[in-house]
């Protein structure tokens, strides 16, 4: 069964950086959705989701990212992804999300964009 997802938000200037570790699927996507939702409700509008520690992501995770991007944009902000592994970059490319969500190699790059 899926190991628990680790999701930790932290403030970095005008950005909220959300570190994620584990596998994101139908089972664990609600955890990510809850953390991102709480951050947005708490006033975060610029969110960088650090995917460096994410080993797997399917459409359940994509749905969470798209929903959060929409909410950030509605609030005048942005959602960016940091350091997704190659299989995850492929999913983002297949779905065309790499054209919609900015992807950065480092948290520093994302939060200074």
């Amino acid at each position: 069964m899926t190991e628990s997802l680790f999701v930790e938000p932290k403030e970095r200037g005008s950005w909220t950086v959300v570190d994620v570790k584990g596998e994101i699927d139908l089972d664990t996507a609600p955890q990510l959705k809850a953390v991102l939702g709480d951050a947005i409700k708490g006033g975060a509008i610029n969110i960088a989701v650090n995917l460096e520690g994410v080993e797997f992501l399917d459409s359940s995770g994509l749905g969470v990212l798209i929903g959060s991007l929409k909410r950030c944009k509605e609030a005048g902000g942005m959602l960016a992804l940091v350091s997704p592994r190659r299989p995850i970059r492929k999913v983002l490319s297949i779905t065309g999300l790499d054209k919609v969500i900015p992807i950065h190699d480092t948290v520093e790059e994302a939060t200074s964009a």
Partner: protein
Amino acid sequence: MTGGQNGGPPRFKLTTPLEPPYIATARMFAASLARQFDLPEDTIEDLKLAMSEACARAVATGGKDGRLDVAAERRGDRLVFEVVQGSGSLAEGGEVATDSMEAALHLELIGALFDDAESVAGPDGAQVIRFSAA
């Protein structure tokens, strides 16, 4: 594992409760078999994603008899996977089913990863998502 003794190809089966935590088990099942058959790592990553999507769709459609049924079989140089789907509508019930975008993505992603992906009627009338890799 079944078959293989009387000339037929060995058939590998995984049955779990129809619950989201077991989708990861199905991914491990697919990856383990693919490694046993020496498939490339990039293909194994694609198989894990297709399996996850097929299983998520099975959960969203209610599966069959409350079970998640996955099978795999070697046919020639290909490793063929089948995931039994339910007869429920993706528009009804379930957290995934409430998000039509995610529901549509399941099949689109599987089709994008594997050209031969298809949704067919299984032997007992249940719908089955089938895809294969070499």
